[in-house]
Symmetry: C4
Subunit: 124 residues, 4 copies
């Protein structure tokens, strides 16, 4: 219906946390859910901020045009370094073209799962 | 109290997922909750984006004036095609008049339900 | 730190639903959480939109200055009419001075509670 | 990728509540999750609003540059006063430099945990 840009270039998620335990059939995990409504591939750089050490900067990731990608945070990796479990952290997602970002967590640490979700915070 | 437009024309939900299983009395489902504060009917076009194939475009839906509609995603259909269960996807809702959109999921895959909800992301 | 207006005059929550059942010690309920950072009392008008009938309009409510109020939706009433349980609906909150509004639901229909929460959608 | 300010100076969370009970291994708690993408330390002032008494004003807190801090609300304290449990309240976070704020609650009052999360509401 229109040609406006669909989304923003920078997104922030202050509450990141990978639960260390799971129970039942569903594995505890987080997802950074990205929607790329453009025709071109979006080139992302994901930076991870910690409470007590310097950030893990600019992990690369690609999302094709007209596609979504639900990125498991446990799959992100740079120079062999991954996001540790059971540690509070925060996420910055930067893209070279406008995208939309939502964050969700499934926690099955205790039996029966719990869910939470929120749009990431965009900065134009 | 005012005559300003009530909402936006385009809304985005990157984290769509229809859980395949349910337990207990409550069925796992998602809802796209639309509020139309105008007097006229809103004509929606819902586009579904996937991770690995082209989008299912512009499924039509109507929400009457001064009404809300909590649309079960499993009810959306175009040319006999529906949103598959157990597949990560994303949602775009476009309307010909301003609306407000919230997304919620009830997951009862494991016993005892889990809920999540967020406002969709609007683009003016 | 500043004198800017703290909030907006109109807020929208498309996904309202009062669960009919509870289990355990916690009663299923929803709350419209209002923060009034001004010195004066905020005079609210809450309008309830339904899927299949005209709205229940402008239920009055007051929130004192420098106070919060977590309004149970089941307590709202106008001319003896209340919000029915087990019915999808939507909420509009209008205020005569700027406020901030968040919506939360606790559902204990099946054993063990589920929670969801989101900021309401503001329109300046 | 850019030099724009990363975040806002004031953030609001109308729905604060510290659950009084826990069960299982996980303790019920809330977190104010702050991300400070600047190089300098952010000096926060957290004000707590109640339903029936004057606010507890400007509890100080610091978040270092390029770090996140997931602040347990039960740890906030000013002149020996803390946020009481089992009481509805609201939160205002003010910072001297731009930050991003998300709010999350884990409730394990009844067995098996429940989660909720939302971005705080920013005022530029």
């Amino acid at each position: 219906m229109n040609n406006r840009k669909k989304g923003e270039l920078s997104w922030y998620i202050p509450d990141g946390y990978i639960p260390p335990l799971s129970s039942g059939d569903l594995v505890s995990h987080e997802s950074i859910c990205v929607l790329n409504c453009n025709n071109e591939t979006a080139h992302l750089k994901v930076t991870i901020y910690f409470e007590d050490r310097p950030p893990l900067e600019e992990i690369p990731y690609e999302v094709k045009g007209k596609r979504t990608s639900h990125i498991r945070t446990s799959s992100l990796e740079k120079d062999g370094e991954k996001i540790p479990v059971e540690v509070p952290y925060a996420i910055e997602v930067q893209s070279d073209i406008p995208i939309i970002v939502q964050y969700s967590r499934l926690d099955s640490t205790q039996k029966e799962l719990a869910l939470m979700s929120t749009m990431a915070f965009p900065i134009g």
